[in-house]
């Protein structure tokens, strides 16, 4: 009996104009946007490749180790799944320096030179956004007259004269409508995946298809939730026109009004000034280190007279070419460090006796820097979390009161473009920085002659640990997406039960 009902509903739905329109519009929007997004991705990939090449070559042009400060730069590759949900992929910086004087974080990253930051004035788009707007609308359009329409036409009474459970009628309607809604979803996704695979620049792994599967599953839950919302309204109203109007109102509120309204009402803009004490603490640690350095240099019997007022600019070594200063002072990201040094081409014989002392000084000083950085990181990390991550999480949480927010968060997690996914990259960079520092310790590079002079052998950049970043495994994506998906599922179940109760008790 259930099968008969489903067949009837399916035929009813498939032959309608709205079904044709649904398929057509979704296909059109998804395909058009895939083409655009693919092009955009390719551009970002080209920019990434060029930037990586440039950094690689620039680093190899350096002859002393201390110059790595300027040129050991790693780049964040664009995420191919950002086509599905852009998330933070384009917004966050994609170029970051690796240096022992600071711990690299998401907030220290900058953008490649090729981007025009003004173009961010325009809103960006992804496939999930298309689904979010269009599929929810279609689900409501399929649902609004499911019960109210039959009641109006009197066919509901007719069906109920047969010995059928009311639950079966609901189930049949639900299943057939979901099957119909699956058609535009799957066809459009299929087309966009075909487009993606024909492109030579984008390479999708087996894992990526699993992630896309996760996105499809989440989309299904989302569409089903909207269908049930529509069904609920349809069960409660007597007339189709009222149901239609209410459905549109609910859609407008959930998709358009609520997300924007709530985040306008609740301010989630980061407030760096709240953690200014942490910044001063960090600055103090560095100033202390600097004082100690000056004290050390002034008191040293040999280096004291050589250093100018406690500054390590060259130590009057004959053959010193130039001094450098690398420092950052950014209260908004609590970044503060200060590192000076010098570079010597060929050290003359008369200065040769001082060289071991200078080497010794740098070995000692760089170790001090690394330990200072470790101490500042203990302050900086929680402060950065308080400034940036907490408001972001609050915003995410507030958005999750609407299915749109849940859907967006879950698909972002699948695509790996959510905050955690992006943070994965920066944790990898932090690990890489530790690896580089360890390598410098192991090979005694901080206290080597190659740290500042290139006359007896130059820096060997190829022996340096190589940076490699792999996106997190699918099970981690799944673990991040699961809570939101479960919430969506629970909402589905609750709504279905509510509809059942309303429908069973309602008079025909």
């Amino acid at each position: 009996m259930l099968m008969t009902l489903i067949r009837r509903e399916l035929l009813d739905n498939l032959m309608t104009f709205r079904f044709a329109a649904a398929v057509f519009i979704t296909l059109l929007l998804v395909v058009a946007n895939t083409v655009v997004l693919l092009k955009d991705y390719e551009q970002r990939l080209t920019a990434y490749n060029t930037a990586t090449q440039e950094s690689y070559q620039k680093l190899r042009e350096e002859r002393v180790y201390s110059r790595y400060a300027m040129d050991l730069i790693v780049h964040r590759p664009p995420n191919p799944l950002s086509i599905f949900n852009l998330g933070l992929d384009k917004q966050v910086g994609n170029e970051i320096a690796v240096y022992h004087a600071f711990v690299p974080t998401i907030w220290d990253a900058v953008k490649h030179g090729a981007d025009n930051p003004f173009l961010n004035l325009f809103t960006s788009i992804d496939i999930v956004l298309v689904f979010q707007g269009v599929l929810s609308l279609l689900a409501l359009i399929f649902a609004y007259d499911a019960l109210a329409g039959e009641r109006e036409r009197g066919t509901l009474r007719l069906v109920l004269t047969h010995p059928i459970q009311r639950g079966h009628i609901l189930l049949a309607k639900y299943i057939s409508a979901m099957l119909c809604l699956l058609v535009p979803l799957l066809i459009s996704l299929l087309l966009s995946i075909i487009l993606l695979t024909t492109s030579t620049t984008i390479s999708l792994h087996a894992d990526d298809f699993l992630r896309i599967g996760g996105i499809v599953l989440t989309s299904l839950l989302y569409v089903s939730l909207f269908y049930l919302i529509g069904l609920c309204i349809s069960a409660m109203t007597r007339r189709t026109s009222t149901a239609l109007m209410l459905c549109m109102f609910v859609w407008g509120v959930l998709v358009l009004v609520y997300p924007n309204l709530i985040l306008t009402a609740v301010d989630i803009v980061p407030q760096p000034n709240t953690q200014i004490s942490a910044y001063h603490q960090i600055k103090q640690m560095w100033e202390e280190l600097n004082r100690e350095k000056k004290l050390f240099l002034r008191n040293d019997t040999v280096l004291g007279p050589l250093s100018r007022n406690g500054e390590d600019w060259g130590f009057r070594l004959k053959g010193g070419e130039y001094s450098f200063l690398r420092d950052e002072d950014k209260p908004s990201t609590l970044l503060y460090f200060y590192q000076s040094g010098f570079y010597a081409g060929k050290i003359k014989a008369e200065s040769e006796p001082h060289v071991p002392l200078v080497q010794n000084y740098y070995g000692f000083h760089n170790r001090e820097i690394v330990s200072t950085v470790n101490r500042t990181w203990l302050v900086r990390k929680p402060a950065l979390e308080a400034i940036y991550v907490q408001p972001a999480n609050l915003g995410q949480m507030l958005l999750k009161f609407s299915p749109v927010g849940l859907y967006d968060a879950a698909t972002e997690a699948w695509a790996g473009t959510d905050l955690e996914g992006i943070q994965d990259f920066f944790s990898t960079v932090q690990r890489y920085r530790r690896a580089v520092v360890d390598y410098f310790y192991d090979k005694k590079i901080f206290e080597s002659r190659q740290w500042f002079a290139a006359d007896e052998g130059t820096a060997d950049w190829d022996a340096l640990p190589q940076f490699a970043f792999h996106r997190s495994d699918t099970d981690i994506n799944a673990k991040r997406a699961l809570p939101d998906m479960l919430l969506l599922l629970t909402m589905n179940v609750i709504l279905f039960t509510v509809i059942m109760l309303i429908f069973i008790k309602s008079e025909v």
């Binding site: 003004f118 960006s124 239609l244 109007m245 109102f249 407008g252």
Partner: protein, 474 residues
């Protein structure tokens, strides 16, 4: 006709959608006003503090020799926040609100770290707000542009989707046309009926919003601002009538009101949500993925090395006329080159933005967004105006320095070098000050094209609706 309009309005006033619309618009407008009242004083305060600090810097530079003013120039420039910020946010988080005047560049120091060669100030335009490190979810602020652009247009469709199809379904259309009323009168009556019924809740909500904002003691709206608000309100009506016309057009052609609503909503999603972003992506993919530096190198393959050009004078410590002139030319050319580079970069990037704006203008929602931004004094156009204001002032200040120097007969008139300039004291009061201004007539000129396009849209859709309704069978 007036009769039909009245009937429509009465019909709508009693309906559920009217009540829901009123509640929705009120909620949005009140949130908008509360946010503005909370944020605006902070914005103004930040601006005032910054301006005071910058003005103090200029005073410090001008208090003493003319050389110091010529070398250090003014303080940083800050963009004046618009009092109509609640109408359009205008990408506030992306556009920079400062133009920096860097410290004069130090070209050389001696072994004791003392400056021996220092240039003169130049303007540098920051690209975009790189301080924006927000990793939170991206949503659009609820400002008037959003309320009108997205919500009001949706409401317009909501009020008109069953204008004809609903009456046809109920059979009242046949009844009405049985009377001796020309069809175009029916159409126009319906058009105004819907437009007025939408304007009532919108005007009410806008009124509450403005009442809240104008009664707050911290926010002050000038007469000009009220004029601008009037223009924005008129824009809202124009934009709404576009969607009313669209609704009537589809409703006249389609038999069932449900189908008509579906078509209208899909059109709305395409026009308001997808077209602006998709077209912007297409437009930005036209621009090559080269960085500005590469672009600059291509444009200026051989850049004359200023160091080589002025080498013979830079390192001499003589104070004769020729040496000083050499140094002065080096400093000025260097500052000019820096400034030109920054300006070129801004122009290069603005041209990309303009291209994207031109393409997205196909969507009326973007047109409206730009128009409201223009009249509210926020957004990209306003940013460029701010840049222009700064450039004009920079010229003015440089002329002031040159004129003051020229007025002193004892000075050798070599600008940018201490020994070559007037030794007379100047007072800070005599130096021109910078003021960031907004110009309504300029805003009108830039908006004229977009205004025309929007009106054209409305006219085309209205005549479309007319044709559709005249030819349709009841």
């Amino acid at each position: 006709m007036w009769h039909i309009t009245k009937r429509e309005i009465y019909d709508n006033l009693n309906s559920l959608r009217f009540a829901l619309t009123t509640v929705l618009l009120l909620a949005l407008m009140v949130t908008n006003a509360v946010r503005h009242i909370r944020e605006h004083p902070k914005r103004v305060q930040t601006y005032r503090d910054a301006v005071t600090e910058s003005s103090a810097r200029l005073t410090a530079h001008a208090d003493g020799s003319l050389y110091k003013l010529a070398q250090y120039g003014p303080g940083n420039f800050y963009k004046k926040p618009s009092s109509l910020h609640f109408c359009a946010n205008g990408g506030e988080s992306i556009l920079p609100d400062t133009i920096k005047v860097g410290d004069p560049p130090v070209f050389a120091t001696d072994s004791e770290n003392r400056v021996i060669l220092q240039g003169v100030w130049s303007l540098s335009y920051p690209d975009a707000n790189l301080q924006n490190k927000n990793v939170g979810p991206k949503v659009s602020q609820v400002d008037w542009a959003f309320i009108i652009g997205s919500i009001l247009s949706l409401i317009a469709l909501w009020f008109t989707f069953d204008a004809f199809s609903g009456e046809r379904e109920r059979g009242t259309l046949r009844l009405m046309l049985a009377n001796s009323i020309p069809r175009h009168t029916v159409l126009i009556g319906k058009f105004f009926g819907a437009l007025i019924s939408i304007s009532i809740p919108f005007a009410l909500a806008a009124l509450v919003n403005l009442l809240l904002i104008s009664t707050a003691s911290t926010v002050h709206l000038t007469t000009e601002a009220w004029g601008r608000l009037g223009i924005i309100f008129a824009l809202a009506l124009l934009y709404t009538s576009l969607f009313v016309a669209l609704g009537l057009l589809v409703s006249a052609r389609v038999q069932q009101s449900a189908v008509s609503l579906m078509i209208l909503l899909l059109m709305w999603v395409t026009l308001v949500v997808f077209m602006p972003s998709t077209l912007a992506s297409i437009a930005s993919s036209f621009s090559p993925a080269t960085s500005f530096d590469e672009f600059w190198k291509q444009r200026n393959p051989i850049e004359e090395d200023l160091w080589d050009k002025y080498d013979e004078w830079l390192w001499s410590s003589k104070v004769d006329d020729k040496t000083l002139r050499g140094k002065s030319a080096f400093f000025t050319e260097n500052a000019e080159r820096e400034e030109r580079r920054h300006e070129e970069r801004l122009r290069y990037r603005s041209s990309q933005v303009y291209r994207a704006r031109a393409i997205t203008s196909i969507s009326p929602a973007t047109l409206l967004q730009h128009l409201i931004e223009g009249f509210a004094g926020t957004g990209f156009e306003r940013h460029l105006q701010f840049v222009e204001n700064t450039q004009r002032y920079a010229r003015q200040l440089r002329e002031f320095v040159a004129d003051t120097d020229r007025a002193d007969p004892e000075s050798p008139h070599i600008l940018g070098v201490r020994e070559g300039m007037s030794k007379k004291f100047i007072t800070p009061e005599s130096v021109p000050r910078f003021e960031d201004t907004l110009n309504l007539s300029r805003d009108f000129n830039t908006a004229a094209m977009e205004l025309l396009l929007l009106t054209l849209f409305v006219l085309v859709l209205l005549s479309g609706a007319y044709l559709a309704f005249v030819r349709v069978e009841v």
